[in-house]
Symmetry: D2
Subunit: 355 residues, 4 copies
C-alpha cells in the first residue's frame, strides 16, 4: 500500500506522465495556518534546474483540494495535487522490451502483470517525491521540531574536500552554508555528465528540538519508523544513526553516551538531562532521549545514464546494448535533502500525535 503513518497518515498517488500526482493527509490537527506560499521553499529546493539535474521543468504549484478553510487546517483530510504538464512520453516506450538496469521497469511488469503505466516510470517515478515534500511541509508544522538535511558527500568526495576546490568566483561571496551543492561539487558532477554517467551522494539529517519519550520499544522504534520512511525514497541504499556502522568497530566505553545535566536545569522533571555526546543519534531503546536525532542516508548514482549499458532485450530474446535517451539527473542526490526532511517530519508528526 502506498500510505504510511498511524495517527498522521500520508497516502500518495499518481504517475510521472499521468494527469496529476498527489497526496492525502489524514490526521492533520485543526487550526494550523497553511497556504500555498508555505510550500514554495521546499518545493523549490527539490526542483530540478541546476547542472546535474534533469531539464524537465514543471511548475509544481500545489492545488489544495480540501482540508483548509479561511487559511487554517480544519481537521478533515487535506488532498493536495500537482498537475503534470511537461511530459514527453515517447521517450519511454523502448523500456517495455529492454528493462533499464537499476530501474523498476522489470519488477513493475512482474508485479503488475504488464498493466503498469510505463511512461516516465509511471507510479515508480522519483516525481512522486514531490507530494512527499508537500506532506513534509505540513508535517514540519505539526511536529514543531527543527529538521535539516544536507549533502555531506557527492560522488565519493566529502563536502570539506569539495569546498577546498572552489574559487572565489565559485563562492560568489556566499557563506559556506549557503553555497548550493551543485556549485560545491560542480567538478565531480561535470565529470559524470561528460562521461554520460551518474553519481550518488550521502545526506545527513539532524532533527533537533525533539522531546524525549517519543517512539516505542520494539516494532515502532524511532529508528524503525524513520528507516521505513527513508527507504521509501527511491534510490536509498543505506541508513545509519549516530556513530552508525562505525559503532560496530568501537568499544562500549567509547560508544556509550553518558547522561548529564547538559542544560543545567531542574533535574526533578527529567527535562534538562540528556546525553552529553550523541553516538546513539538521539535514541535509546527505540525512544528519543532529548538529543537531536542524527542519521545519514546513502543515495545510489542515478540509474538512467546515457552511456551504453547491457541489458536483456525481451523482444530479441538476447542481451543488447541500451543508451538511455531523454532527460535525467546526473546526480539526483542533489534534490533529495528536502525529501529526507519531509520523511523525517512525517514520522515525527505521527509520533507527536501518538503521545
Amino acid at each position: 500500500m502506498d500510505s504510511f503513518g498511524s495517527k498522521f497518515r500520508v497516502s500518495i498517488f499518481g504517475e510521472s506522465h499521468g494527469d496529476a500526482i498527489g497526496v492525502v493527509l489524514d490526521g492533520v490537527q485543526p487550526g494550523l495556518p497553511l497556504g500555498i506560499e508555505d510550500f514554495t521553499e521546499d518545493i523549490l529546493r527539490r526542483k530540478s534546474g541546476p547542472k546535474g539535474t534533469t531539464p524537465r521543468i514543471e511548475s509544481d504549484i500545489p492545488e489544495i483540494l480540501s482540508g483548509i478553510y479561511e487559511g487554517f487546517t480544519t481537521g478533515a483530510p487535506l488532498a493536495i495535487i500537482f498537475r503534470n504538464r511537461n511530459t514527453r512520453s515517447g521517450d519511454y516506450k523502448l523500456f517495455n522490451d529492454m528493462p533499464r538496469p537499476g530501474h523498476a521497469d522489470y519488477t513493475a511488469s512482474v508485479k503488475w502483470m504488464d498493466f503498469n503505466d510505463p511512461r516516465g516510470g509511471g507510479h515508480f517515478s522519483g516525481r512522486l517525491t514531490l507530494p512527499i515534500v508537500a506532506a513534509g511541509v505540513v508535517a514540519k508544522k505539526m511536529c514543531v521540531c527543527d529538521v535539516r538535511a544536507s549533502l555531506i558527500e557527492v560522488g565519493g568526495m566529502s563536502r570539506t574536500e569539495a569546498l577546498a576546490t572552489l574559487t572565489d568566483e565559485d563562492r560568489n561571496g556566499l557563506p559556506e552554508s549557503e553555497i548550493p551543492a551543485s556549485v560545491i561539487w560542480k567538478d565531480v558532477i561535470a565529470n559524470a555528465m561528460r562521461e554520460r554517467d551518474s553519481i550518488g551522494g550521502i545526506v545527513e539529517c539532524v532533527a533537533s528540538k525533539v522531546p524525549a519519550g517519543l517512539g516505542e520499544p520494539f516494532f515502532d522504534s524511532v529508528e524503525s519508523l524513520i528507516s521505513h520512511a527513508i527507504f521509501s525514497i527511491p534510490g536509498v541504499r543505506g541508513i545509519e544513526f549516530g556513530d552508525g556502522f562505525e559503532s560496530a568497530r568501537m568499544k562500549g566505553s567509547e560508544h556509550n553516551d553518558p547522561f548529564d545535566n547538559v542544560e543545567g536545569g531542574d533535574v526533578s522533571l527529567h527535562l534538562s538531562v540528556h546525553p552529553s555526546k550523541n553516538g546513539a543519534g538521539g535514541v535509546n531503546g527505540g525512544i528519543t532521549n532529548g538529543n537531536p536525532i542524527v542519521f545519514r542516508v546513502a543515495f545510489k548514482p542515478t540509474s538512467s545514464i546515457g552511456k551504453p549499458q547491457k541489458t536483456f532485450n525481451f523482444a530479441k530474446g538476447e542481451m543488447d546494448e541500451l543508451s538511455i535517451p531523454g532527460r535525467h539527473d546526473a546526480c539526483f542526490a542533489l534534490r533529495t535533502p528536502p525529501v529526507v526532511e519531509a520523511m523525517t517530519a512525517i514520522v515525527l508528526a505521527d509520533l507527536m500525535k501518538r503521545i
Copy 2:
C-alpha cells in the same frame, strides 16, 4: 505498539524478569507442520553460553498455547510463551537513580512516567528477541525462502582476518563455515572481556529463493519493511542493502545491475531473467527482482560494561561513576544472526501473504 505486519502479524510481550515473555502470531496459514522441536536450532543459536555471552542461562523451551492441532497449524493465532526462571533482580535497582549509558533506563522512565519495570531492563530487554526468534521459526516455514545471516566482522576485525589467527586446535577439524563465531573472534572478545569493556559486530543476511514481484513501490518497499523490522532489534545502528553506502561512491555504470537470462529458461514468463550482479541487493523500485536479498546490519558494542563510566546520578543531582555489576554479553552481536534471520523471515512471510 509492539506488533508488526499486515497479513502476518507478530505481537510480543513480556519483561526480562517477569513471569513470562511471549508472542502472538496472527495470520499463520493452516496446515503447516509444527512442533516444539522445530524451535530448537534457532533458539540454541541465539542462546548465551560461549565466551563473550552472558552467564544467565535459561531453558528457553517454548510453550505453544494455541493455534496447533494434531501437529499442524490450524489457521487460528499461535500464542507461544517462555517462562523466565534464572532471574536476579537485585542487580538492577541502582539504575533507577543512575541511568546506564546506552540503555533505555532513562528513556523508559520518561516515556512511561517511572512506572516501567526496571528489573533486567523490563520490556526493553534483549531477552525479548527470544519470542522474535520463535516467530521467525514459524515465518521461515511460511515464506519458503532460504534466509541465512552470519557475522562478517566483530570488534573491527573481518572474518577473513580473524580466521587467519586460528590454530589447528582452534579449528578443531571443522570446515570454516561451521567454526563458531565465538571461536573465530576469540582473541578480540577475550581482549574486551579483560578490559571489562564490550565490542560490536556486523551481520550479513542473504535471503535467497525469493520470488520476483514482492513489495510495494513506496511506503512498503521491501527495504522499508526489512529495515523497519531490523531496527526493532535492540542495538542496531545501521543497515545497508547490496552495495550499500559504497554505492554512493560508485558510478551508475558500475552500480547498475544488467538484467540477463541468468537461468537460461523461457523468457516469455519473466521467470528466468534477473540481474547478473547484485549491487541493488535484490530489489528494484521497492520490489524484489528475483536475486537474493542481501543486506548488512551494524550492531553497536554491548551497552552494559563493568568498566567504570560516568553518568548522571539523579539521587545526588550530579555526575557519578558507575561500574555495572551483573551478567552481560561482552559482544551480544554473537547472538544476533538468528534474530536478524527471524526479522527477515517475518517480513517475507507477510509479503508472501500479500501477493
Copy 3:
C-alpha cells in the same frame, strides 16, 4: 481517520462546498477494465432530482487522476475527484451559532475546535457519499459478487403497502421492480414535504455469488466489517443480518439453518453444500457460508427540515427557534441504495483480496 480496508483501502476527502471531493483507492488489482462510463449508472442512482430529494444538482462527473492506463487499472492507487460547482454557502453561516438538531454542526465544532468548515456541513456532508459510490463501482468489479440494495420501507410504509396505492398512471407500464422509489412512496413523501418535515426508510441489501470462507472468526467477522462500513454512511441508526432482531424472539430450532447439498453437486469439495434457509444472513461464526449475505439498514429521517425546531442559540445564550432554509432531501433514504451497495462491495473486495 477517513480511510477503511486492509488490502483494498478507501480514503475519502473533501467538503461539501470546497473545491473538490474525492477518494483514493489503494490495492486495486491491475488489469481491470475501467472507464468513466462505468460510473454513470450508480452515480445517477445516487443523484438528486426526483421529488423528495434536494434541488442542488451537480454534474458529478468523475475525474480519474491516476491508476488507469490505456483503459485498465495499473495496480497503482486510483485517485478520483469530483468538482463542486453548484454551491450556495450563504445558507450555512447561521449554524455556527445555532447547531441544527440531528446534524454534526455541534460535534464537529467540539472535535475540531471551531476550525471545521461549516459550509454545507463541510466534511460531514452527505455529499461525501459520492466518492464512496465511485469506490463501490471499482469494488464491484473487484469482488465479482452481485450486490443489490433497495428500499423495502419508507416513512413507515412497506413497499407492498405502497405499491398497492399506485394507479396505472403511476406505474407507467413499468414492471414493479423498475418503478422508482420516489414514485412508489410518492404519497408519504408528498405528505412530509407539505409539512416541511422529513421521513426515513429501510434498505435491504443482498450480496449473492459470495464464496464460502470469507471473513475472520472474531474482530474481522463479515458482519463486523459490513456494519463498520454501513455505519460510516451518514444517517444510519441500525443494521440487522438475516432474521435480525426477530431472531431474538425465535427458538434455536426455528432460527438455525440446516446445511444441505442445495446445489446437488459433488460434496467432497464442500462447494455445493450450504444452508437451505438463510436466517443467519449468509454468515456463520463470522465466515460466509455460501448463501447470499442479507442485511437491512435503518435510515433516520433527514435532519434538515423547514419546520421550525428548538435548538440552543450560542450567540444569545438561550434556546431559540430554527427554520432551516435551503435545499434538502425530504427523504435522503431514497438516494442511499447505491451507497449501501458500495460499502458492501468495498468490504467484499477487501475480503476477496485477503484470501
Copy 4:
C-alpha cells in the same frame, strides 16, 4: 485477524479445549492500578452456573504474564491467559461429518481447509469471550466512562412482562435492579430447556460520562467502531442506536434531538450543552455529543440444541438427523451483558487515546 483497535489494541487467541486462551493488550497507559481482584466481578457475571447456562464450570482465574509491576500497569503490553481445564473433547468429533446448524463447523472447515481444531468449536468458541471480558476490565479503567449493559428482553418476553410473573419468593427481597436475569425470565428459560430447545435475547447498553468530541466523521464513526466490536461477539444478529429501526418510521421533527444547555453551565466552553433527548443515541455525524451512548443488541438463540435437527452428513452424502449431546447454554444471551460492556469499553478506551 483477531485483533482490534488502533491506539489500544486487543489481540485474542486460544481454543475452547486447548491449553489456554488469552489476550494481549497493547497501548495500556502506565500507572493504572490493576490486580487479579479487579477481574472477579465481570468474570463472574459472564460465568455459567444459573439455570439456562452450560454446566461446564471453569475456574476462570486470570494469569497476568506481563505489563504489571508493583500493582500498576507499566506501559508495556499486558498478556493475560486463562487455562482450560474442564474439557471433554469426545463430545465434538461427530461434527466433522455433520456440521451443526448455526455453528461455524462448516465455515471453519472451508476457511482453514479442515485443519481447524474442532474440539469445543476450537477458536470459534464463545469461550473466547472470556479474554474479551478481561480486556474490558482494563478498558473500563482506561476510558473512565460508565458502561452498563443488561437484558431487556429474553425469548420474546420484555423485562417488564417477565418481572410481572415473579412471586415474592422469586424476588427474594431483592430490588428489581438486582434480580438475576435467570430468575426474571425463569419460565421462558425452563420452557426452552424442557423442549431441549434454545432462546435468544436483547441487551441494552448505556455508556455515560462519555465526553463530547470522540469519533471520526466517516469510517471511524463511533457507531462504526462499536458495531464492529459488537458483531465480533458470537451470536449477534443486529444492533441499533438511539431510536434505532424505529427512527425510520419517525418524522425528522420527532427524531431530531434539540441541543440545550442541559446542565446549565457556562456555554462558552461548549461543555454543558448537549441534546435534551437522545434519539440519536449520543452520536451526531459519527462524533459523541455529550449524551450517553445508547444501543441495543440482538442475540440469536443458542445454536446447540438437544432437539433433533436436520443437517448434511458428509460421511453418508445425504441429509441426516442430529441431536447435539453435551453441555450447552439454553440461553447464552444471559451471559452476554459483561461481554457487550467489554467491547464498548474497548472502543471507548481506544477513542480516548486518539484524542
